[in-house]
Symmetry: C2
Subunit: 358 residues, 2 copies
C-alpha cells in the first residue's frame, strides 16, 4: 500500500513564523487573552487562516493538566433509553465545550472496568455512568478520588446521583396494578442476580408487594426468550407463563424487557393486556408507539441529562470537597394499553389503603 502520510498539521510555531511574532503572542490571541494589539491580532488571525491552523488540544491539555473530555459509561447503547440519554448528554456537553468519550460494557466477561481504566488514562475530567452493573462498584477503587463520577438513572454507594426516585416509581407501578385487581404480579429483571435485589426498581417492587401482603417473585428471561430463570432454576418460559401459578401482571425492569415479555406472551397466545398486563419503566424507544401502547413509568429524560451534565461540570470545577448529592426528579405513570383490570380477584386486600397513601 502506498503510504503517503496524512498532512502534519501546522503548529503554533508555524503561525508565529508566518506572522513574524512569538509563540506567546500567538497563544494569547488563540486564547483570546486581553491586551493584544488589534493589529497584532489581525496578523495572527491572517496567519491562522493561511495555514488552516487548528489548536492541538492534546498539547493544551497536557500543560493545563486537565482535559475537557467527559467519559460516559454506557451499559447498552441498544437500549433506546440509554441511547436517548447519551444523545442528550452529548448535546448539553457540547454546549459547554466538553467532548464526550464513551465505552460500553461488553457483555462477555470482564465488564466496564477496562474501558473505565482507559478513559482514566486519557484523563477524562469526569465520569458519567448510565448504568451500573456490579462492576461499577469495583470501579470505585479504580477511580479513587481522581475524578468525580455521577450516576445517571442509576446509583451506586458513592458519587452523585441524578435520577428519579426509582423505588417510588416501582411502588407507584405496583400500586396501580394492585388497584386494578392484580395479585400475581411478577417482576421481570434484567439478569439473574446473586444479591437479593439487584436494583432499586426491584426493591420498590418487593416493598410494594410485601406491604400489600403479596408474594414478590422475580424472573429473568434468556435472550432467545425460551427459558426463564426463577430463583436460580431455569425452565421453559411457557411453563412459567401458562402454569397454574402464572402471573396476571408483569412489572418489567425497563421497557426493553417489557416489550420482550409482551412479545413472548402473545406468541404463547396470551394477549396483552387481556390475559397478561405488562408495565414497563423508562418510556423509551417505541414504548409509546400505537402498536405497542406500553404502560410505563416515564422518566424526564431531558431534565435528567441536563442536570447530570451540570452536576458533573460543577463537581469538576468545585473539587471533591462536598458530600455526594442525590438529585431526584419526578416521574410519571403513563397508562396506555398494555395494562388492564384483572377481574378474577377474589381476596380482599387489608393493607391496601396504607399502600395507596404511601
Amino acid at each position: 500500500m502506498a503510504t503517503q502520510p496524512y498532512v502534519r498539521p501546522p503548529t503554533i510555531h508555524d503561525v508565529a513564523r508566518v506572522a513574524k511574532l512569538s509563540k506567546s503572542t500567538v497563544s494569547n490571541v488563540i486564547r483570546n487573552a486581553v491586551g493584544v494589539h488589534p493589529a497584532t491580532r489581525e496578523r495572527v488571525q491572517a496567519a491562522i487562516v493561511e495555514l488552516d491552523y487548528q489548536t492541538n488540544i492534546v498539547a493544551r491539555q497536557l500543560v493545563q493538566q486537565r482535559t475537557s473530555i467527559l467519559g460516559i459509561v454506557i451499559g447498552d447503547l441498544a437500549d433506546p433509553f440509554q441511547a436517548e440519554i447519551a444523545k442528550l448528554i452529548g448535546g448539553f456537553t457540547a454546549a459547554l465545550s466538553y467532548q464526550v468519550m464513551f465505552c460500553n460494557a461488553p457483555s462477555d466477561g470482564n465488564p466496564e472496568a477496562e474501558g473505565i481504566r482507559r478513559m482514566l488514562e486519557h484523563r477524562v475530567a469526569g465520569l458519567l455512568f448510565l448504568s451500573c452493573r456490579a462492576a461499577a462498584e469495583q470501579a470505585r477503587h479504580l477511580i479513587g478520588s481522581r475524578v468525580p463520577s455521577v450516576f445517571v438513572c442509576c446509583s451506586a454507594g458513592w458519587g452523585d446521583v441524578v435520577s428519579i426516585d426509582e423505588r417510588a416509581g416501582a411502588l407507584t407501578a405496583i400500586s396501580h396494578l394492585i388497584v386494578e385487581g392484580h395479585r400475581a404480579i411478577w417482576h421481570l429483571a434484567d439478569a439473574p442476580s446473586d444479591s437479593r435485589y439487584a436494583c432499586d426498581r426491584e426493591l420498590g417492587y418487593a416493598d410494594a408487594m410485601l406491604a400489600a401482603g403479596l408474594q414478590p417473585r422475580t424472573l429473568c428471561i434468556s435472550r432467545d426468550g425460551e427459558t426463564a430463570t426463577i430463583g436460580g432454576v431455569a425452565m421453559p418460559i411457557a411453563d412459567v407463563l401458562l402454569g397454574d401459578e402464572r402471573p396476571t401482571a408483569v412489572f418489567a425492569v425497563n421497557d426493553m424487557r417489557a416489550l420482550q415479555i409482551m412479545q413472548i406472551a402473545e406468541r404463547l397466545g396470551l394477549g396483552v393486556p387481556d390475559k397478561l398486563s405488562v408495565l414497563g419503566f423508562d418510556d423509551a424507544g417505541s414504548a409509546g408507539h400505537g402498536r405497542m401502547e406500553l404502560s410505563t413509568i416515564a422518566q424526564p429524560k431531558e431534565q435528567l441529562a441536563q442536570l447530570a451534565v451540570d452536576t458533573l461540570v460543577r463537581r469538576i470545577a468545585g473539587g471533591a470537597g462536598t458530600e455526594p448529592a442525590r438529585h431526584l426528579l419526578g416521574f410519571q405513570l403513563m397508562l396506555r394499553r398494555s395494562t388492564a383490570t384483572h377481574h378474577q380477584a377474589t381476596e380482599r386486600l387489608e393493607s391496601f389503603p396504607a399502600l395507596l397513601s404511601a
Copy 2:
C-alpha cells in the same frame, strides 16, 4: 463550596523516584520494551502498584504525535440503527485498544461541523461517519487530508465507504411492492431536500419507479405527524393519506420513519397492511417485534461495524495514498407483516420483467 482538589495522579517521575531508577527505564517497562532486567522490571512494577500509577495517555499522545482515539459522527443516537452500529463499533474499537469520541449533529442550525472541528482539535486518528447530512460534504474542507474518514451505512463524494448497496436495496424493496400489485408507491424521506434526491435509497426508489413506468413521489412528515410536505408544499397528512391519489404502499427511508407512518396511518383508520403497505430500511430496534412485524431491508450490522473499524484502522496505519475504497455488503429483504398484496391493480406493467431481472 469546599474545594478539596482531586488527587493529582502520580507521574512516571514519581515511579522512577520510588523505584530508584530513571524515567527512561520506567518508560521501558511501561511500554513493555525488550531488554529490561527482570529484577528491574519487578521493582518498577512494585512502584507502579504502590503508587497506583496510570499512564498519562495525553502526554504519550503528544510525543507520539498520534492518538488512539477514533471520532464518530452520529446523526441521531435516538435512531436505534445508528445506536446499534455505534455500540458495535465501540466494541470492535476497544478490542483494538482504540477509544471512541463522539459528537452528534445537533438538529438546530449549525450541523456537525462544530463537533468535527473539536474532534480534529483533539487529534482523533480517524473519523467514522454514521450519517452524512449535507454538512458532511462541507466537512470535507474542514478535514482536508488530516485524517482518514470512513462512511458507514452512508456515503459522500470522498472517503471510504462501508455499506450495503443502498440503491440496490431500494430497488429490491420497490420491485417487491410492484410484484405485490402496488403502483402508487411513495417514498417517505427524512427531511425535505432541495436537491432532487437526498440519498441513495431515494435514488434507488426513483430508479425502480421510473424503470417500471411509475411516477416517483417523495413526501416528508413533520415531527408531530400532522403535516406532510410534498415537493415543497405542506398539507395535512390526512389529505395525503386519504386523498384521491393516495398511496397504497410507502417505502420509508428507514425503520423509524416506517414506524412513524404506520402509526399515523392506523390513527387515521388506515390499517397496515390492509389499507396501506409499509416497507422500511435497516431492520433496527423494534422493527421485528411481534407487534410491529415491519417488512424491511435488513442490513448486516455486525459485519458493517467490524469492516468499518478495520477499514479505518488500516487507513490510519497505511497513510492516505490509496484511492477511496467502497465496500458493499449484502442485504436482505425481510418480509414480515407490514406489506401485503394490493388487489385493485388494473393496469398491466410492461417494463416489469426487465425490472425483475435488474
